[in-house]
Symmetry: C2
Subunit: 338 residues, 2 copies
């Protein structure tokens, strides 16, 4: 994979969406606001302004481009972008508690800094805030958007739950893993890619095609995440080395390697089990997964879903300049190193 520059739309999304996101978070009571703003990279633990990374803003960018794709001003997508970023960050706050992860985006996680209680309630608060922000105008488009957001959120939560359940299973198949990723990651990216168009009042078929683009983009995104979760460098990803192996996650490279390990199946299984608290075992497991083709299969899956995303995108008949930006964003998602 070559390193490519981040598409201009990510910076634009950050610039356009951050003021609205800040205004939304400012509605929280002080006890919730500090950990929320800390999590988003805006302040340090004492509330002093900080310049930490609040994430890549892929979902916000999708919501803006989704509005522009159907001919509206991309600012029409702002409430959708704010809501989707709030839901995404609520899920990260809860995931860090669930996975007992002490670091995200090169900073101490909220539960590790403020306690499990605040990390859970701040996540809950962002969840509710997303609904409030999106519903506020009370227009038919806003109501449709909230309905789509709730459906996407519901699928995401179901996918996360399956992801947790998979940690205690050692016979998860590639297809089961793909279905889980489709829910855990695909559903919210699909929703992001729909929200702008919904807010712009686009017809259902166009919204559905944009959603299909987002779903495949989400599957490609998760495949790349699965590769980075084993072979990514902490300095770049901000996540622990061999994190997915130590966490006993069942990701695409692992399920692919298990299916192809044949005579080495017992060895791979025992290395995966030992990876929980043995970094050397995790390193050997990573090598075996690569040797058995787990990495290559996952990279091929990412490329395949990138292709499917671009096909779905064309079906949405987007404004050509916006189609180019959505295609560039998809390309970036697959080629990113973090």
């Amino acid at each position: 994979m070559s390193r490519i520059a981040a598409p201009a739309v990510l910076d634009r999304a950050r610039t356009i969406v951050t003021p609205a996101l800040r205004a939304a978070v400012a509605r929280l009571s002080p006890e919730l606001r500090l950990p929320a703003e800390y999590h988003l990279g805006w302040v340090d633990l004492d509330g002093r302004p900080a310049t930490g990374s609040g994430g890549k803003h892929v979902r916000a960018a999708l919501a803006l481009l989704s509005a522009a794709a159907v001919g509206a001003d991309e600012r029409v997508g702002v409430p959708g972008a704010v809501a989707i970023e709030l839901v995404h960050n609520f899920s990260l706050l809860h995931d860090d508690v669930i996975d007992v992860d002490r670091e995200r985006r090169h900073r101490t996680t909220v539960w590790a800094a403020f306690g499990v209680g605040p990390a859970i309630t701040v996540g809950d608060a962002l969840h509710t805030l997303a609904i409030q922000v999106l519903l506020e105008p009370g227009t038919p488009e806003a109501v449709r958007a909230v309905s789509a957001l709730a459906d996407g959120t519901s699928r995401m939560i179901a996918g996360e739950t399956v992801d947790i359940v998979f940690e205690t299973r050692d016979d998860v198949t590639w297809d089961e893993c793909l279905e889980m990723s489709s829910a855990k990651t695909g559903a919210l990216l699909a929703c992001a890619a729909e929200l702008g168009a919904i807010l712009a009042g686009a017809p259902a078929a166009r919204v559905a095609s944009l959603g299909a683009y987002g779903l495949h983009l989400g599957l490609a995104f998760q495949a790349v995440d699965d590769v980075l979760g084993i072979w990514g460098e902490t300095a770049t990803t901000g996540k622990p080395v061999f994190g997915d192996l130590r966490q006993q996650k069942k990701t695409l490279p692992i399920t692919a390697a298990l299916a192809r390990a044949n005579g080495n199946l017992a060895e791979l299984r025992s290395l995966l089990e030992a990876s929980r608290d043995d970094e050397a075992a995790a390193a050997r497991a990573a090598d075996l997964i690569e040797k058995f083709g787990g990495r290559q299969a996952t990279e091929e899956a990412a490329a395949e879903h990138l292709g499917a995303a671009l096909t779905a995108l064309r079906a949405a008949q987007p404004v050509p300049a916006v189609e180019a930006e959505l295609a560039e964003l998809a390309q970036y998602v697959v080629e990113r190193q973090q």
Copy 2:
């Protein structure tokens, strides 16, 4: 306090609302559905039908009577009742994780039985499901109801967060505690008392009066809970003995006693601190709190807010038979032993 019979509306609410609540929960994926149904008392840990208590259904009863109070059939309030029970139970699932409580309603809590991960995601799933159920009809009344539910949920989460923060402070005042209870408990009961009327299309002033009734009822409810949290019997409440003291909660009896302890302030503070892991200290702290009038002040506050609830209720000009039931429900909330 004398023991009074549970009002008929609680059984009626259970009968009317449970089928709709079951239908809503049945929409969850299997991994979420089992722990959700277990939490609600419908199945045991293996998914076999059970007859555990799913709670008192006070909030569901309020939503039904709220519709009837403004002249509608109480069934108009059913989606509100389902949504409010889902939000209430989402908050219980998360609270049990936060408070590390291993028992609720005389059963093992979801995090203790299924793990912290599923307990958090099942809570999240019920949170989203509440919005989906209530928004589904897409009518202006449904949109207004979702907006009220999100506002109530938002206040509840803020109150819970303050409750957590208070655990690490020893100078919480009575007024601060009352304000926290108003958010933590009052907001959702106010919302329950509004939802039926909102769904019935009642004018804003009538909805507001019913909300004020619910808010004061919530304050009375929390005051009684605060008494039970120290002097309640596990066999009746299903909660650990001296639970609030061991958890370092700052409840009304404690803040009242601290304000009146005068020369014994240092002794009371040190007993409260020791209550964390010393049951004998907790028992002595409970005696001192009672001696300094903390229990009496809290029981007086419950009675006072019961009175305020009934005054607000009259202002809503409810259908007389329904006013009687809402008054009976309020009376029960204050006189209950569990």
